[in-house]
């Protein structure tokens, strides 16, 4: 019996169009725009100014505080400007614009031999500082600084590292390809993170629709073993949700409002593990990542190794150009991704995919009154009542929203997906969450 999480969940069409296409390096763009805020927390402080020459991997933004992350140049060339630019979030944020000239890397970034020797050569602290220096953040989309997640608060004791290879979003295959093509590196990276956390046990959770990835990771584990287990999971969305994945792989339940560390677990995405591997063995900062470019009307859906700051338009060009029937371009997957206002938006550390949706599927249908069919309650993986949260949100009954545990919502979108009356449940719930969030803040 395959493992999965218990409550709710949906089965959207998987649409993994690009699962068979190997990771291909994307040609360098003419210019990049590197946002200084690609992570949760304080934006990095710019270290360069107009006219500076930079190399690949050079620090251009310094972490501003504990919850922040370094930002490095992803190309070599000349800084054109440090300016406000609209990023994938839709907000204007400070970014370093660089004209690309050649591909000259910072001297310290090197492929080194026998990477596993760092396991013994590096102390825990050295690993943590290498990860911090490289500006590694959670690459599954949340972009939380990895260093912070690897330093659990005093008093808590991590026991298990979970590597998130669920990739439950339809269409996306970046993590899948990473596991198939870089299994060995991921395994070493996992052992690095185990050492950094001080845990003896790691579980790699992979949904069962990726048998080649499961086989590859098992093969790699068989060679290096030592406390690492590959756990195939029954396909169900949102398996990759942190709390859901922890339940599926360990049976532990993270309490409402608590972090995974409260049950002794830390979860990292496979992309993050790979970035940590490169940070430790190559001193390579997080300047490039695998991005799935996909969509039903796209000529060549694929997985591209792409420099941070590359305009989304370049990726779409590589995949065959923007189809004429395009209605939406999404940063991420169809369930949780953000719709882009323009293809000038750039790839950041958290961009796992670029999805092009035809106009016919991009428009929502007009919504109707709730018929109280209970679908939303049935599919909610957190055991909430989305229909009620939406109503309370509409009437701005913030106190009741909090009591109905609106803050537990992980915004997976299963409720809106399942609603036969096409109600925008998650839209209103998000507004409610932000109101409750403000209320909680004002209490302090």
């Amino acid at each position: 019996m395959l493992k999965t999480f218990t409550l709710g969940g949906i089965h959207p069409p998987r649409e993994k169009l690009s699962s068979g296409s190997a990771i291909t390096p994307l040609p360098l763009p003419e210019r990049v725009s590197i946002p200084l805020s690609q992570h949760i927390g304080a934006p990095a402080l710019p270290l360069v100014k107009k006219g500076d020459r930079v190399k690949v991997g050079q620090l251009i933004g310094e972490a501003a505080g504990f919850i922040s992350a370094n930002v490095h140049s992803s190309v070599s060339g000349v800084v054109l400007n440090v300016e406000e630019a609209v990023d994938a979030s839709g907000y204007a944020r400070l970014a370093v614009v660089i004209r690309v000239e050649g591909d000259e890397w910072d001297d310290r970034v090197k492929q080194r031999e026998s990477p596993d020797r760092y396991l013994s050569a590096y102390s825990r602290e050295e690993m943590l500082s290498a990860i911090q220096a490289a500006g590694v953040v959670g690459m599954g989309g949340a972009t939380f600084p990895t260093r912070v997640k690897l330093t659990p608060p005093t008093g808590s004791r991590p026991e298990i590292l979970i590597v998130n290879g669920a990739e439950c979003e339809p269409f996306l295959t970046a993590d899948h390809r990473l596991m198939v093509e870089r299994g060995r590196e991921l395994l070493i990276g996992t052992r690095f993170l185990m050492k950094a956390l001080g845990v003896e046990q790691a579980i790699i959770g992979i949904e069962n629709n990726k048998p080649d990835a499961i086989a590859k990771m098992r093969e790699a584990v068989a060679k290096h073993a030592l406390g690492i287990k590959v756990c195939p999971l029954k396909v169900k969305y949102p398996q990759g949700g942190e709390k859901q994945l922890i339940e599926a792989t360990t049976g532990r339940h993270v309490p409402s409002g608590a972090l995974p560390i409260s049950v002794g677990v830390v979860v990292h995405n496979v992309g993050t593990v790979y970035a940590a591997y490169e940070a430790i063995t190559m001193h390579k900062p997080l300047v490039e990542r695998v991005v799935t470019v996909t969509g039903k009307s796209l000529a060549r859906p694929g997985n591209y190794l792409c420099r941070v700051g590359t305009p989304v338009a370049c990726l779409i060009e590589a995949a065959g150009g923007l189809p004429g029937d395009t209605g939406k371009v999404i940063n991420g997957g169809p369930m949780m991704g953000k719709a882009l206002a323009s293809t000038d938006a750039v790839v950041t550390k958290g961009t796992s995919g670029v999805l092009v949706i035809p106009v016919g599927e991009a428009l929502r249908k007009p919504y109707r009154d709730c018929i109280r069919c209970t679908r939303c309650v049935q599919v909610c993986p957190m055991g909430l009542e989305p229909y009620l949260l939406m109503t309370l949100g509409e009437y701005q009954r913030t106190g009741e929203l909090e009591r109905e545990r609106v803050m537990d919502c992980i915004e997976c979108g299963a409720c809106s997906f399942a609603c036969p009356a096409y109600r925008p449940l998650l839209d209103v719930i998000r507004l409610g969450k932000s109101r409750v969030g403000q209320m909680i803040k004002s209490r302090k």
């Binding site: 719709a339 428009l363 809106s416």
Partner: protein, 325 residues
Amino acid sequence: MNTLIVSPSPHVHGGDSIERNMYGVLVALLPALFCSVFFFGWGALRVTIAAVASTVLFEYIIQRYLWRQPVAIKDGSAIITGVLLAFNLPSTIPLWLVVLGALVAIGVGKMSFGGLGNNIFNPALVGRVFLLISFPVQMTTWPVPNGFETTDAVTGPTPLVLVKQALRTQKPFAELLPGGEHSLLELGTGSGVAGSLGEISAFALLLGFAYLLLRRVITWHVPVSIFLAIALFSGVLHWSNPAYASPLFHLLSGGVMLGAIFMATDYVTSPMSRRGMWIYGVGIGVLTIVIRNFGAYPEGMSFAILIMNACTPLINKYCKPKRFA
């Protein structure tokens, strides 16, 4: 460059719709409709058509001319109300009563609350109970099924009337049943039993239940909790005194199957959480047996459902689904 559409996630929809569910219910009602036409003849079809035509027409008129809003009759909910109302009527009922019942069902039961999704009570049951209380004679003149035979319909009591007869005389209930235990089979298949249109065949209704479950239009919780409550409660009574009818009789007679599968499971008027569904279902089952054995009416299903409909908001308030942690 073409302009892009920007909206919050999720960007895909599962494809379920109100129509898919409503027409699913209608398909599930078809076997029972065939059975009632087979057993009661054209009268059954006449009542059904009249009921559906009037519910749809009244909804259309109210939306179009009273509310001045887009007409949504094609969502199928008014058709269901029509069919269910017809299924709760005797096949020989005068048509003007059918039309009046439809007006009360749609006008009072549904549209006065704001239409689909906002009503507190099951509209078809509001219509039926209105007719039952206002026109008791016409509503309890049950024809004995004789199919398409041209002889005038013979009226007879529904087997439920025997329940209280047995209790009055304190005779074992089984002795009063014509044909004894054998007639339980007749209750299941329908031949020879007087009653409303849709109550005629438990098996046809169960077939519809299977279809609804298969297509995931409803979950099993409400019907099964009703069945269990009825079986247990009437079982205890029957075991303590054989003058009380047996559980199987209670399950197969009257409106239990129709009510449990098609009326109590009405989305709008039933609870939202699993635990709430159990409380609601058990409440309906217990109330039905109480009314059948100790109440003034021979049948209690309609009243039981309406009473539990009224409790649904309270149940929703106190019964929360199982939280993640």
